[in-house]
């Protein structure tokens, strides 16, 4: 089997189970984002792939070979750390050349490769610069170049962009994705930022409490979340429980209410799919309780029989409501997703 495969991998620290029986296969050339709230086990999983932690149980296979017992320094993976871990005692060029030096690559060859890599990250002529003299984004690029110096089989990144400000982060996401596509390297990024995952990944792996909740392409994760945890974590959503407003829901959409109740879970609808129409012409009658006008989008909070439903629209679609306005809410059937509990 080609690619990386995790089989029933678990990691326990004393009584605490950080990673709980995770199985996953990643074909070559895939860009994977492990996404989840802090403490969900995503970093521990990445560190086990890198060999920095030993799985308590389970095996990790690369191209069908068990790599679990192989120590980190023999795995030939490139890794970018959250702190970047650039060596403060070495300059930019020596940092990038470090893995080459360790493998005994000749001086001339090292120099050539460093120049190539600096070219790749658009930092030509920075080889002699001390690391401390770089900006945040430049450091980021150096860490990436260093991890890629040996053309590793696997490229691992642990929250690589978390230290950057919002603008730079978005630019780096695009850069990282383009670089990965150019090199065709299997890449695993750990992040807690769902926007980042949506921007870069071929495959998003949502983790919660040490388990994989859903592994799917970004759009599928967004459109068809597997459970309430995923739906809530990826973007914002309206989670309507059938228990509380079942009667209401049942009257309007009997088939959906039935499905939801039998799954014992909730109904999810994205705010941009919720339609607000003139009072008396929709499914449910409600009252606007709060309006958040963000300029580009408007979030309208509607109270429907004690449950708050949020709708997002753009200013062009219609004139904004005001708090206290009566309004009707319509939930298009095709946009509603039934979630397991």
């Amino acid at each position: 089997m080609s690619g990386l495969a995790l089989q029933d991998v678990s990691k326990r620290f004393g009584d605490f189970t950080a990673v709980d029986n995770v199985s996953l296969s990643i074909p070559h050339g895939t860009f994977v984002c492990m996404l989840g709230p802090s403490g969900c086990g995503k970093t521990t999983l990445l560190r086990m792939i890198a060999g920095l932690e030993e799985p308590s149980t389970g095996t990790i296979l690369l191209d069908g070979t068990d790599i679990t017992p192989i120590p980190t320094h023999k795995r030939d993976f490139g890794m970018v750390f959250q702190s970047l871990a650039l060596f403060p005692h070495l300059n930019v060029g020596d940092n990038i050349a470090y893995p080459l030096r360790i493998r005994g690559v000749g001086k001339a060859e090292q120099k050539k490769r460093v120049a190539e890599l600096l070219d790749m990250i658009s930092l030509q002529g920075y080889a002699e610069r001390p690391v401390a003299k770089l900006s945040g984004g430049q450091r980021q690029r150096v860490a990436i170049a260093r991890a890629l110096a040996l053309s590793p089989k696997l490229f691992l990144l642990d929250e690589p962009l978390s230290a950057l400000d919002a603008k730079l982060r978005e630019a780096m996401q695009v850069e990282l994705r383009q670089l990965q596509q150019k090199l065709g390297i299997t890449t695993i990024v750990v992040t807690h930022d769902q926007r980042e995952a949506m921007t870069m990944a071929d495959l998003v792996v949502v983790m919660g409490e040490g388990r994989i909740r859903q592994a799917a392409p970004p759009v599928e994760i967004y459109r068809k979340p597997a459970d309430a945890f995923v739906a809530d974590f990826i973007g914002s959503t309206n989670l309507l429980s059938v228990g509380a407003d079942g009667a209401l829901l049942g009257r309007a959409m009997p088939s959906l209410a039935m499905a939801t109740r039998s799954a014992g879970g909730k109904l999810s609808i994205r705010p941009e799919d919720v339609q607000l129409v003139a009072a008396g012409s929709g499914m449910f009658a409600g009252t606007v309780s709060f309006v958040r006008d963000l300029g580009g989008t408007i979030e309208t909070f509607v109270d429907v029989g004690g449950t708050t439903v949020v709708a997002i629209s753009t200013p062009r679609e219609r004139t904004p409501f005001k708090a206290g306005d009566p309004v009707d809410v319509t939930l298009p059937l095709e946009s509603c997703v039934v979630l397991k509990g």
Binding site: A50, G51, L52, P71, T72, H73, K74, R75, D76, F77, G78, M79, F81, Q82, S83, A85, F87, P88, H89, Y98, P99, R101, I102, R103, R146, A147, A149, L150, L156
Partner: protein
């Protein structure tokens, strides 16, 4: 009275108290005649020359420098693997050795000195110059131990992990990452032990007091038989050496951090 004025007054008083005796000693050290007079009469640096020309003082100086250099080196050799081990491994039991390393420094020195005296007397090596080197190394091992522990704890462990993902095994990591980063702490630990060994009296006295004269022993012995300005010159020489060494540590290292402040970010 403003806070700044108060601070200036307190600083001035403490400075006077700390510098006062040294100013007087510096004064008498440049007296022309061999007499204990202050303010000095005439000006002469001859007494400083004596440290290096008089055979007695010169051999004491050489003894002291040799002892300090050797014992500080040995102290670092003991502290380095211990501090590295405590940082590298999970071994709570090894803390006992850390405690042993700190103990001689906290206990009244006369106790450690007497311990060495009974020990060297028992094994029959009493009075051998090398016994003083070992004794000082143990006595001052605390200093490199503390600076090195601090140094290791300041190394970001992800640097080591990064090195291993790039193919470095444990020894290579030690050589290419850990040692370069720990070097300033090795040097300051050595310097602390060196300066304190240079000035130490009681342990040196109890181990080799009757066979070898170090400078402090020489000064004390000379003091018993009366005053010579060379003592004053040696004292000032010592203060200067200490100030230069600590000044260098401050210049190339982070002194406030070494002395227990968090990273020095106030400028």
């Amino acid at each position: 009275m403003s806070a700044a004025t108060l601070r200036r007054i307190v600083f001035l008083l403490v400075a006077l108290f700390l510098a006062g005796p040294l100013i007087v000693v510096a004064g008498v050290s440049v007296n022309e005649k061999q007499s204990l007079i202050f303010p000095p009469e005439g000006f002469s640096l001859a007494w400083y020359g004596q440290i290096f020309t008089d055979p007695g003082w010169r051999s004491a100086l050489v003894n002291s420098l040799t002892l300090a250099a050797a014992s500080a080196a040995l102290a670092v050799m003991i502290a380095m693997p211990l501090a590295w081990f405590l940082w590298r491994r999970i071994a709570p039991w090894a803390r006992i050795f850390q405690l042993l390393g700190v103990a001689p420094f906290i206990l009244p020195p006369v106790i450690t000195a007497l311990g060495f005296l009974t020990f060297w007397a028992t094994v029959g090596a009493y009075g051998q110059p090398w016994t003083a080197a070992i004794s000082h190394a143990i006595f001052f091992v605390t200093l490199p131990l503390v600076t090195l522990s601090l140094g290791f704890s300041s190394i970001d462990r992800s640097l080591v992990e990064a090195a291993s993902t790039m193919g470095a095994d444990d020894r290579t990591v030690l050589r290419t990452v850990v040692l370069p980063l720990i070097l300033p702490y090795v040097i300051s630990g050595y310097a602390f032990a060196f300066v304190l060994s240079l000035n130490e009296y009681i342990v040196a006295y109890m181990t080799v007091g009757f066979t070898m004269e170090t400078l402090p022993i020489k000064i004390f012995n000379a003091l018993r038989y009366g005053y010579t300005p060379t003592m004053a010159a040696v004292s000032i020489f010592f203060v200067a050496v200490a100030a230069i060494v600590f000044g260098l540590i401050a210049r190339f290292g982070d002194l406030p951090r070494l002395l227990g402040a968090l990273s020095g970010d106030r400028d």
